[in-house]
Symmetry: C2
Subunit: 216 residues, 2 copies
């Protein structure tokens, strides 16, 4: 199962309808105002989660009318709407979670979502969690060997240390291969690589890499 | 002196003309395509730096005609245009560097700029370096006590650990004060605070905090 969450970031940060509908075995969750973005695209989410504070009365009535399962929270909660939605998604034991509408506008929200995904990805290593907008895909790679399939939507692949330096990083199947190199905090050397085979791999044994795939 | 660098991120990521012209003692540097954004705003930079690969012939002729000092690099250089521009700016020994046009579009470019500023801010602790777009300001706070003046442009102030957990963080003069708290990688607890006095302060003794000020 692949759970797709649409969060309430500015609408231009939401991935295209065709992309959202292209994934197999997909279940949709609307996080707060993201529920409206999904309904506007003709996608009825299985569940809507949030405080729905930012919705007009008309929008709220539409959510009540169209979405079967609604989990409405108090505005004064500890978790963000996106966090609650990812936690609900993880309970469904999916192989993959994609969060869209979570990258732009307020950069504190984007950074907060990065830290949230970092924490939850470590807690649920068997489920791949990623953020996605129209031209970027963002996720964390944990220790081990990870396969990175060629994806025609993204020309570039970049890696950053997150939380600490990451030693012994080996990259294969990309334009600039590395062998046992140190990815340090503050370095920009591991950006704009390109996958040149059917599937690249990245291997390392400790820490976590932030991987960003992007297009112009 | 305050050096303002305009980088080549998408034009909608460049701060407003009025804001750019509101700073005292400002000197402008155009980084690659950012030079055109400045000229389009009627601001003639003191210097233009970059490979200028993305410029049309007409745009390049305009740069040659209007900008006195141009530093043209080979496209196959190790540094990004933004990096070269910040290094030139630091040579002018300013109190402050503001980089605009460096936050959006390709998220790998934004992340790369974050790491770049993190590294250069540690190398030049006496110069405050920040990224700025229309609704966000991003910078790193180093150990010690830093004054954070009230700024009407930004309602929210958020802090994130960058590179490692940051212990003993004390925040004063904000809506949610903290006393000697741990800001951990993966936590989103220190977001959306608000400066409620003329000037807030943040104090800690090791590590670095990523501070993001933002508006809706």
């Amino acid at each position: 199962m692949h759970v797709i969450i649409c969060a309430g970031g500015p609408e231009e940060e939401v991935a295209e309808r065709d992309v959202l509908l292209s994934f197999d075995d997909a279940v949709f969750i609307g996080a707060d105002h993201g529920t409206i973005y999904l309904l506007d695209k003709g996608i009825i989410p299985t569940m809507a989660v949030g405080d729905f504070d930012s919705l007009t009365i008309e929008e709220w009535q539409r959510v009540e009318r169209e979405v079967k399962t609604i989990e409405r929270h108090e505005p004064e909660k500890d978790e963000t709407d996106t966090e609650l939605a990812i936690i609900r998604a993880l309970e469904m034991k999916p192989q993959k979670i994609t969060v869209t509408g979570a990258t732009g506008g307020r950069l504190d929200h984007y950074e907060s979502n990065l830290h949230l995904v970092y924490r939850l990805q470590k807690e649920a290593p068997n489920c791949s969690i990623r953020l996605m907008n129209k031209t970027n895909e963002v996720r964390f790679i944990l220790p081990g060997t990870s396969r990175l399939p060629y994806d025609q939507r993204y020309k570039y692949m970049s890696f950053f240390a997150f939380g600490r330096d990451v030693p012994d990083v080996t990259l294969k199947g990309v334009a600039y291969e590395t062998h046992s190199e140190l990815v340090q905090m503050g370095t920009t050397r591991f950006t704009s690589n390109e996958v040149i085979s059917a599937s690249a791999t990245v291997s390392f044994s400790e820490g976590a890499l932030l991987m960003i795939r992007s297009n112009d």
